[in-house]
């Protein structure tokens, strides 16, 4: 399955991943409209962590044994057995935030205005996840990974 790895040694903390994630999950897919006209505004599903020189953008790890899925009270969260992607059925999500507590990566965002969680969906509607496609410094690595073949450390990590 595909995974997104942050490369903190080249993450420049610009937050463009957040911006483009937000746009990709907006109604209009237009950055200016998404920020200025849509209410409630879309929520980015990736979050930049920055502390001094350390920075990296983290989104859902799509864990093998996802705690969020196991903790989900409503069955809204699922791990797709084929793609490995952890998805949320927003119809079923009631915004209880149990998964927010159970995700050790802080990768699930409570979208308070909608009363639903927001999380990485791998931008299935796009050719490439928006965060990866728009990272100006290739600090988000999209890799294809199989259980037999764990990911290689990026060549120049």
């Amino acid at each position: 399955m595909k995974r997104i790895y942050p490369r903190e040694e080249v993450c420049i903390g610009c937050r463009l991943c957040e911006v483009h994630c937000l746009v990709a999950h907006s109604k209009s897919k237009d950055i200016i409209k998404a920020y200025k006209r849509e209410t409630p505004r879309a929520v980015p599903r990736i979050r930049l962590e920055a502390r001094g020189p350390v920075s990296f953008a983290l989104n859902c790890r799509h864990c093998e044994e996802p705690s969020c899925v196991q903790a989900c009270l409503t069955g809204a969260l699922k791990k797709d057995p084929d793609t490995g992607i952890v998805t949320v059925d927003t119809e079923k999500c009631v915004g209880c935030w149990t998964c927010v507590l159970f995700c050790q990566y802080g990768a699930i965002t409570p979208d308070v205005e909608r009363g639903k969680i927001a999380k990485c969906d791998f931008c299935m509607h796009l050719k490439e996840p928006a965060c990866v496609a728009n990272c100006p410094n290739e600090a988000l690595l999209l890799v294809e990974e199989t259980p037999e073949k764990p990911p290689k450390e990026p060549a120049h990590a």
């Binding site: 979050r47 069955g75 159970f102």
Partner: protein, 424 residues
């Protein structure tokens, strides 16, 4: 004879079924539940009650999950007795179902204390969908409700009733609501929310008597509190708590404490019998002992571990602890682990309060023992994760409560390992 017999059709039972099917595509599974519904989300009965969701919308899994997984679902059937030597479960009416592997996922049963005036119409517990339906049936005639118990269930039914437009009074034995889950400041914040939404609070009190009205006083008319105060109402919800539903193994070989005793594989002392969920005493990594941790996620994970082990894939339960995410009138609250330590000796408590935001972590020897986050819960998962992993947070403990706390505070090697490992 089915290979797998699962008693209980909630988080634990479903967790087990799904795990079994990951390993064993063909083994015959029978699931028995005394509730007639496909698995639904028990915590969501309040949403059902206040009309925000219907049955379809609170189903925990798609209703075709039984047929797709070739599961013989015996819903609305109650197991009355286990014949452990014969490996048979006896249903109400005498039918017997055998097993190779048995999972007891029977959950809990509401505690109803002895009160004068019980048996009147308008009294209900609040743990099952049927409870919610019963209250719903009464809601047309009801204007005022008294909720006995200010715990998790009490709070959740209170909010639902408020949403339905009832006047609600909460009677709580302790001096504050949610006393078992929250520390005092957090309880006070919740109480403020309740009061501002018109809920009346009667703490340090119990209900002595349920008064009646109408013919023969057969209908609830009010309650009399321990201090003699009388509250008029037409609905009483008993939400004191639940106890493990252990009747089936009482006086059998299966070892029982408060709940069914299980090991790290969720196995009981009797070969072929596993237990999980609210009925089982599984490992609590905070208290470092086997105890009841009756929360939904633990039930599911426990069931999953049990299911794997039942299907032959040896799997260990890494432990769970009490951890809850609550939301009352829009105020998000998460809490986990040891929130009200019996003694503060050797503990370090870090907290921060600012308006609606309240955060606290309890440390022991640099390791997190308990957390309470209110108002801003976004980073609580990371802190909870550190607690679960037993990470020594001494180096950055002051940052745990900050808004931008994150994995970036972890030492580099740990951080990188975590980000990478998480994906596998």
């Amino acid at each position: 004879m089915p290979e797998y017999l699962i008693i209980g059709n909630s988080a634990g039972g479903i967790g087990a079924v799904e795990a079994i099917r990951e390993v064993d595509k063909d083994g015959a599974i029978t699931i028995v539940s005394d509730e007639p519904y496909p698995a639904y989300s028990r915590p969501m009965i309040s949403e059902y009650l206040c009309g925000e969701r219907n049955l379809e919308q609170i189903l925990y899994r798609p209703s075709d999950m039984y047929s797709r997984n070739h599961i013989d679902a015996r819903l609305g059937k109650k197991v009355v007795k286990l014949h452990i030597d014969a490996r048979q479960a006896e249903l109400e009416g005498g039918e017997k179902i055998g097993w190779e592997k048995l999972l007891l996922a029977t959950g809990g049963t509401p505690i109803v204390p002895a009160m004068e005036g019980m048996g009147k119409r308008g009294i209900s517990t609040f743990t099952t969908l049927d409870d919610a339906k019963a209250i719903e049936a009464l809601k047309g005639q009801a204007r005022r409700a008294v909720v006995i118990g200010g715990g998790l269930i009490g709070m959740s039914v209170t909010e639902a009733l408020v949403k339905l437009g009832l006047e609600v009074a909460v009677v709580e034995l302790m001096d504050r609501v949610l006393g078992a889950l929250l520390d005092e400041p957090a309880s006070r914040l919740v109480e403020t929310k309740l009061l501002s939404n018109g809920v009346k609070l009667y703490t340090d009190k119990t209900v002595k008597t349920i008064a009646g009205r109408g013919a023969n006083d057969s209908i609830v008319g009010g309650v009399v509190l321990s201090d003699g105060q009388k509250l008029d109402c037409d609905l009483v919800i008993v939400a004191i708590g639940v106890s493990p539903r252990t009747q089936l193994v009482k006086d059998t070989l299966v070892k029982l404490n408060r709940g069914i005793v299980v090991d790290n594989h969720m196995a009981t002392n009797v070969a072929g019998i596993h237990a999980c969920g609210d009925v089982a005493e599984a490992y609590d990594y905070v208290y470092r002992t086997f105890r009841l941790t009756p929360i939904w996620p633990n039930a599911y994970v426990g069931g999953r571990v049990a299911g794997f082990n039942m299907a032959g894939k040896t799997t260990e339960y890494r432990g769970g602890t009490n951890a809850n995410s609550l939301k009352y009138f829009g105020l998000p609250v998460v809490t986990a682990g040891m929130v009200n330590p019996p003694s503060k000796d050797g503990l370090e408590i870090i907290s921060k309060a600012e308006g609606d935001v309240y955060k606290k972590v309890i440390l022991k020897g640099g390791r997190i023992q308990g957390i309470v986050f209110m108002g801003d819960i976004q980073r609580s998962g990371i802190v909870f994760g550190l607690m679960r992993d037993g990470v020594d947070v001494t180096g950055f403990k002051d940052k745990l409560l900050s808004e931008d706390f994150g994995l970036s505070y972890l030492p580099e090697s740990m951080r990188k390992e975590k980000i990478k490992a998480g994906s596998r």
